[in-house]
């Protein structure tokens, strides 16, 4: 399953290059660094701050058909948890493959308990469904 991670800020591609080359923490970066100096893409996703021209910390997952499936937005002073991002991403790929299953909040990875064919029979019985094999 191919996934492209693309980082976006309102800096230009030239600044991305200069930053990646000068900051040793970024020496092994493999992801694409995209430039949105007009803020148009950032506005589309609702992360553009018109007051200072800087993007909020927003993460968005888009499936291969181009549908937006997940979003998370943090204010400037709180960082994102990559483990939770990966959990949500894996869960989205899993349910895209297994369309009769849903991933509960504690689902972490392939093999963890899911709810299969949630429907009328499961109403009020989620606890039992999560206990069962």
């Amino acid at each position: 399953m191919g996934c492209d991670i693309v980082t976006v800020s309102t800096d230009t591609q030239f600044v991305h290059l200069a930053w990646q080359k000068s900051e040793k923490e970024l020496a092994n970066v493999k992801y694409t660094m995209a430039a949105d100096p007009t803020g148009n893409v950032s506005r589309l996703f609702g992360v553009y701050n018109e007051g200072n021209g800087l993007d909020l910390r927003g993460t968005f997952l888009i499936n291969p058909e181009g549908t937006l499936l997940n979003m998370e937005m943090n204010f400037y002073n709180v960082g994102r948890n990559i483990d939770e991002l990966m959990r949500k991403f894996k869960a989205n790929i899993y349910v895209a493959r297994k369309t009769n299953e849903v991933c509960p909040s504690k689902w972490k990875d392939e093999g963890d308990k899911t709810l299969v064919n949630p429907g009328a029979k499961m109403v009020g019985k989620v606890h039992e469904a999560l206990q069962g094999s």
């Binding site: 309102t10 148009n40 589309l44």
Partner: protein, 57 residues
């Protein structure tokens, strides 16, 4: 297109096509990202927005 969108996207909506110029650290060169290419190549996409280069992400 992005220029004419007034309300931000909501979950479950189709993302309209857009393009961005990119820097590709693996190639040391500039490139292009487009939603149209991602769909044509059947790729999942994670967009990771942050305030600014040379800060403390």
């Amino acid at each position: 297109m992005a220029e004419t969108m007034t309300a931000p996207l909501k979950l479950g909506q189709k993302v309209p096509d857009f393009e961005m110029v990119t820097y590709e650290p693996t190639k040391g060169d500039f490139g292009k990202f487009s939603m149209k290419d991602q769909i044509a190549n059947k790729r999942w996409t994670i967009l990771f927005f942050y305030p600014a280069d040379f800060t403390f992400v």
